[in-house]
Symmetry: C2
Subunit: 383 residues, 2 copies
Amino acid sequence: MPLGGARRTGTALSERQKIAWLRLIRSDNVGPATFRDLISHFGNAEAALEALPELSRRGGADRSFRIATVDEAERELEAAHRFGAVFVGIGEPDYPDALRQIDGAPPLLATKGNLNATARPSLGIVGSRNASVSGAKFAAMIARDAGAAGYVITSGLARGIDTAAHRASLRTGTIAVLAGGLDRPYPPENLGLLQEIVSGEGLAVSEMPFGWEPRARDFPRRNRLVAGISLGVAIVEAANRSGSLITARYAADFGRLVFAVPGSPLDPRCHGTNDLLKQGATVTTSSADVIEALAPLSRDDLFSRLEANEPSAEEPRPMPMPPDDTDRSRVVEPLGPTPVAIDDLIRYTGLAAPQIHMVLVELDLAGQLCRHGGNLVSLATAE
Amino acid sequence: MPLGGARRTGTALSERQKIAWLRLIRSDNVGPATFRDLISHFGNAEAALEALPELSRRGGADRSFRIATVDEAERELEAAHRFGAVFVGIGEPDYPDALRQIDGAPPLLATKGNLNATARPSLGIVGSRNASVSGAKFAAMIARDAGAAGYVITSGLARGIDTAAHRASLRTGTIAVLAGGLDRPYPPENLGLLQEIVSGEGLAVSEMPFGWEPRARDFPRRNRLVAGISLGVAIVEAANRSGSLITARYAADFGRLVFAVPGSPLDPRCHGTNDLLKQGATVTTSSADVIEALAPLSRDDLFSRLEANEPSAEEPRPMPMPPDDTDRSRVVEPLGPTPVAIDDLIRYTGLAAPQIHMVLVELDLAGQLCRHGGNLVSLATAE
């Protein structure tokens, strides 16, 4: 049952737009949420870049605040080109449909390999790095069967379960999400696997800059993308407090299906998966358990529904009044270290939403804001 | 947290009553449901015994229909006495409270050992005969912890999981339910275990006559008692179509909790338990999972609630008119090989409930009726 590809829609970014987008997302303290707010407020990336110095200053940033230069962006595009990589923007047709829907979807993905992989629905498969033989076998079985049923298998290129899932779906298509730059795969022993992936039906993707060595905190961020790209995620063996459980948590937060493979309570590799079952994950003992549950989500009409939420075209728009100092203190005052919903902040302060968003962008740029899932924000605390 | 024993209520049977009860339940085609209907219709076992020849004739039984004699019943009581066994009637204080509530509870249980075991709430633990080492270890752990928490552990004396569960609860109390007579334990290698059980805190129970060698069909019947005695049943390793799944099914039918221990999908010993999880059994990875779920069911007020349903005292009562041939054909006609609810039969025929029950008793005695769970009946088909 090969699944039809989604209708690809969206508008390609011009080279000039791509440079502006890259500069914006690579500037200090600009994360996906701030990127989106800036584009939405200023209409396009170039206008946002012009406003950045003033915005960051108003938020309280000092003079060390750095905006990526045209030169730096061109060098990164050049490096990508030499590497055979392509940047895909969130509004472009090749951007993974499901990923587009999550809070904090990366505005730009560096990709290498076969971009057709993003046209089909994805199943994520993740699990222990120190997988058991039977765990790896089970992951390979699901990957093979779901691949044959038309799904692209997305995973994190880690040892163990991830490796087994990628290998078993090399021929049908697999997406490896990297925690560092595309040219910095981890672990090093999977470099060969990565090359097999990108030279065949598969794709490597990363939201990090070229040359970026992955740090510990980049792996949960990578897991967020694995969950975001996928309609469902199967967790095969996971210890308590393991990264795979972070992927499962993201998947649940994004409203994706979570499949967990049961295992012996006496095997620590199964404690996390069994806990997921207690929390309501789908008991998964065969490929059919996964494929049958995903089928209703994999029809084209899902994608057309998703497309309805696409980010708006990048057009200059009338600028609302910038927030003044009074507005700013009315927003900052009720904020603290406890996350609050932005909607509550709007109701509480009585300010207009664009004003509030702009104050938050300023604080964010100055490193004063923490953004949480579900549109929650808190003040950053000194570490 | 030792659990308080239930308040024991009920009335002891006299020796004469016990002989009549034993004769009645040991007569041809008298199962627990027919026993109950007969007592309820005729007021006591002696009156029912007197009516048996006529009832069975009306149902269509031939002259080979056998009623157990006083002599036979006395011999069985004598054998039980020599064996150190005691018969406990369904209305007597020592009868297990939870078992009393199920459809088709045996009117008489042959028991040997410490009858205090029936005063405390029970957890059933069952599973594969060819258990894995870790499965047996897990069963022992639950049995030990639940035993320490005040539960009696009930199981079927089989090899593997059953054996591990009994052994681990020898000191706190365990009930072994036998598929054959009390003097015919199976498998033979567990004779030593059985002796340890009945000479300590434990109890052996059977609804079958002394000397009865268990046949294949007696084991599911035994499983029904394991589930009926218990407030919940934990299934530790079970292959597809295994006896442990029958126990789980009975437990679910009786409204008891079903706990299943997850295991690798690649181990056939876990296919049944994983399937139970898919059907909604409680994911069980620790003793606490079981003990915490049982706690709200183990309070005394449960038992007082259960007691409200006790069978009525054995008193002679005014005899309703026996059904005539017209009544009989109005009941038989709509019956066929497909099970129907007795309540539907009452509504469909418009006959009085006692009349219908009596026709069904007659058919049952003649071997013409099959009784199913949930008060369903069908006509017996020639095998």
